[in-house]
């Protein structure tokens, strides 16, 4: 028996060593191939693309990557302003209903054809559903606003609006595609961006290659981009710490797992407002005093310190990142538990109790709910937390408005209308059921106001109303954490979803 067990142990050891030998042999060959090539970057993203067609894609996760494939007439700057892109300049008619765009000369599409006014007309007609064979409007933002598109000459195009619309320009970053390429865009996207599409595997990722004829000379810096999808954030973080990825957005909790010397963690406010949206139709919340009490009972600085240190606090549905439009209402409600108790007692709800429905996919919102639950105990408020999945949240809470309160992040846009109209009473996703006639009027006025200074005043007043009426509890502009390989330079951040790959390069 002794020899027997010796033999067996030997067999077992051989088996193990053979297996690890196989792994080593393969590993040595292909190990960390991606990181040694100096002209390639691997970008990790958390979700798959919803569509490669720039006129159908809706997810900001898709848009932030495809900005590198498609370029619009305009594009956002790092300061959140609109700057010329395919259009060198533009003129707005005196009554603000017609926009004439002068196209940049010598711009090429990835398929080799030259950009002309006909391509712009095709793209906008397609969005509005005016192309034979594609008669359905793809985006209401254009279909409801654009009357017609005229080609004035090869490099000049005039877009006539149905009526005055101050935010139209901020939508013109939408990608321009070659004439008649619509039906094939979903499988073979063709634009004018710095990177051209190579291939896409659903669930795996996408490969992009430098577009040599990109209109900005010297850009992009890198030859190849690989986009890898990590449905599981933990897997992404592991790949990151193994330096298989050079660029990935991460969450605060995972920073500690990223090797310090290998990566730089870039931090910047997201231009997103995290809020506890309170349903203004829910019986107790119909009383403004209760809504105010909820604002007095919260300690935003504690939430920030625990979940996103350094994040700007907000007091209305607007991030200070958009400084030009921002109304500073800081400390309008600073924590005052006694005052909160008093307001609750006055309103007849000394023992207020309600449920927060929160999407489980977003730890920052779930964690915020738990902190709030504790903080509210001080004011005698009982909070129940119900975690739902994202899809349920979208259907029940966001579209169905079936909730008492919820925590969510609303992303910032280039134009304040897109941010603040969310709470106008007629908006289909006014999930907090905010209803204020003056507010509605301001949103209507802001949409057509062409005087920039007056427009700023309108939106500042709208922000004030949200705060004064305690429409909800606005918490913070969370911080975006991006892990960037320490060997790289040229990282730029934008106040909207845009991963600008053009300037990224390896340091010499």
């Amino acid at each position: 028996m002794k020899t027997n067990s010796f033999q067996s142990t030997l067999v077992f050891l051989l088996l193990v060593s053979a297996l690890s030998g196989f792994l080593t042999a393969c590993g040595a060959k292909n190990g960390q191939e991606a990181t040694t090539k100096a002209s390639k970057i691997v970008v990790g993203i958390p979700q798959d693309f919803d569509s490669l067609d720039p006129h159908i894609a809706q997810a900001s996760g898709t848009e932030e990557i495809m900005f590198n494939v498609f370029t619009g007439l305009t594009m956002p700057s790092t300061a959140g302003e609109l700057v010329p892109a395919l259009a060198e300049k533009w003129e707005i008619s005196a009554d603000s209903t017609a926009y004439t765009f002068y196209l940049r000369k010598g711009v090429k599409f990835h398929n080799g054809s030259n950009l002309s006014a006909a391509d712009v007309k095709y793209s906008y007609d397609r969005l509005c559903g005016k192309i034979p064979g594609e008669e359905k409007a793809l985006k209401s933002t254009f279909a409801n606003v654009v009357k017609e598109v005229e080609v004035l000459n090869d490099s000049t195009v005039k877009i006539v609006l149905k009526s005055r619309n101050a935010k139209f320009l901020s939508d013109t970053y939408i990608g321009i595609i070659p004439k008649d390429s619509g039906p094939s865009q979903a499988s073979n996207p063709v634009g004018t961006g710095p990177y051209k599409f190579v291939d896409y595997t659903a669930g795996v990722g996408m490969n992009l290659a430098k577009f040599a004829d990109y209109y900005e000379k010297g850009l992009p810096k890198l030859d190849q981009v690989e986009i890898k999808i990590f449905a599981d954030l933990n897997a992404g973080v592991l790949a990151l710490s193994n330096r298989e990825i050079q660029f990935m957005q991460i969450v605060y909790d995972t920073i500690a797992q990223i090797p310090k010397g290998d990566f730089v963690i870039e931090q910047y406010p997201m231009n997103t407002v995290q809020l506890m949206g309170i349903n203004n139709n829910f019986k107790p919340f119909q009383d403004k005093r209760i809504r105010q009490a909820l604002n007095y009972a919260i300690d935003k600085q504690q939430i920030i310190a625990m979940l996103a240190p350094g994040a700007p606090e907000v007091d209305s549905n607007f991030s200070p990142v958009m400084a030009y439009w921002y109304e500073d209402l800081k400390d309008y409600y600073s924590r005052d538990v006694e005052k909160a108790k008093k307001l609750l007692a006055e309103a007849g709800y000394p023992n207020l109790s309600f449920t927060i429905k929160v999407p489980g996919e977003y730890p920052i919102h779930v964690n915020a709910a738990q902190i709030i639950e504790q903080q509210y105990k001080d004011a005698g408020i009982t909070v129940k937390i119900q975690v739902v999945d994202w899809n349920t949240w979208l259907t029940e809470v966001y579209a169905g408005r079936n909730h008492e309160a919820t925590i969510i992040g609303l992303t910032g846009k280039l134009d304040p209308d897109n941010i603040l109209k969310r709470f106008s009473s007629g908006y289909s996703r006014n999930f907090i059921n905010f209803n204020n006639p003056r507010y509605d009027q301001l949103i209507k006025d802001g949409e057509v106001e062409s005087n920039a200074a007056k427009r700023v005043e309108i939106y500042k007043e709208a922000q004030r109303i949200l705060t004064e009426e305690a429409a909800s509890v606005f918490i913070m502009d969370p911080i975006n954490y991006v892990a960037v390989d320490a060997r790289m330079e040229g990282f730029k951040y934008y106040p909207i979803y845009f991963i600008d790959l053009r300037y990224l390069n390896y340091k010499n």
Binding site: M1, N4, S5, S8, T9, V11, F12, L15, F22, L23, T24, C26, G27, N30, G31, Q32, A34, D48, D50, S51, I56, Q58, A59, S60, G129, K136, L138, K139, S140, T141, A143, T201, A202, G203, V204, K228, I229, F230, A231, D232, N234, A235, L238, A239, S241, N242, E244, D389, W390, N391, T392, L394, T395, E396, Y398, A399, L410, T411, S428, R429
Partner: protein
């Protein structure tokens, strides 16, 4: 056999109806899921019409069934691509992972089980028992994480995202599948080891072994020529069950290793209420399970010809 096929088909039909009905009760709307936080009424209407979501439920089911008869499973709402194409692109990965895991289970489980039987009542045997106990108890995804940390991060033998499509070479593909396969098969191996061990020990105590021993047959001959064959019947049964659990177990493991397989596709489909895609995947899984049990029956017949007589 004919009866079995009819039963299989009915089971399959029932599965599709259950999924279809079940989907009506779980919250979530595929179109709302697709358009997310920035709703657009125009796009919403297009999508509802495009995927026939504006039609009544029975009509949608019958239409789906009709299309299925023509081997068309419709278009995925989430991915805007034909369900067949999505599944075809991912099926080889899942099948490869399952087959490789299964080979590992059989190739490691049976010899190790024999070894464990031989080591019975020794200290090494006790250690073996402890390891297999851990193997059964440890969740596959947790074991996968430990594997990644040890093999990829500490030893740097393979990258974390080792997956390479088969089109880029069979061996790189196989290398990418190895770690996930180990993760999937670990519990299967442990179960197999225990079954083989117990089954052999039981057989070794039976009368015919005693008779053979008394006749002076060598103990190796007894084990490999007589005992093993008889011990195999319950082992094949358990292997069949393990195969099904491998197919379902790979659902979680695929996500951990970022392998684009049927499992990760199914998770994406359910998360976004993508009914056509979910249905399509379930059809495939049903076919795999039915096929696995059919295969099991054939293997039974090969091992023990008497089973054929029962048909």
């Amino acid at each position: 056999m004919g009866k079995r096929i009819i039963y299989s088909f009915l089971t399959f039909l029932l599965v599709t109806i259950i999924i279809f009905i079940f989907f009506q009760f779980i919250p979530g709307d595929p179109v709302l899921s697709k358009i997310g936080l920035e709703p657009d009424p125009a796009l919403e209407a297009i999508l509802r019409a495009e995927f026939g979501l504006d039609r009544p439920l029975p009509e949608r089911y019958l239409r789906w069934l009709g299309n299925l008869a023509r081997l068309d499973m419709g278009t995925s709402i989430r991915f805007n691509q034909p369900v067949n194409k999505l599944i075809a692109a991912r099926l080889p990965n899942t099948v490869a992972l399952a087959v490789l895991s299964f080979i590992l289970v059989a190739a490691a489980g049976i010899p190790l089980g024999i070894l464990a039987a031989k080591l019975n009542d020794t200290k090494a045997g006790t250690l073996f028992n402890a390891i297999t106990q851990i193997g059964i108890a440890i969740p596959a995804f947790f074991f996968a994480m430990i594997l990644i940390i040890i093999v990829s991060i500490k030893l740097k033998l393979v990258p974390v995202t080792a997956y390479v499509p088969m089109s880029k070479g069979f061996f790189p593909f196989l290398r990418g599948m190895l770690l996930p396969a180990i993760a999937v098969s670990f519990s299967g191996i442990s179960i197999t080891v225990r079954y083989v061990r117990n089954s052999i020990i039981e057989e070794l105590e039976s009368n015919y072994v005693l008779a053979a021993k008394n006749k002076g047959v060598k103990s190796g001959d007894i084990l490999y020529k007589h005992v093993l064959r008889n011990a195999m019947i319950p082992i094949v049964t358990i292997l069949g069950m393990i195969f099904v659990s491998i197919v379902t177990g790979s659902i979680v493991i695929e996500t951990v290793f970022s392998i684009p397989g049927i499992g990760s596709l199914l998770i994406a489909a359910i998360k976004t209420s993508d009914l056509p895609l979910t249905q399509g995947i379930c059809v495939y899984i049903s076919i795999v399970v039915i096929f696995a049990y059919l295969l099991l029956d054939i293997i039974y017949m090969l091992i023990d010809p008497r089973i054929r007589l029962k048909e």
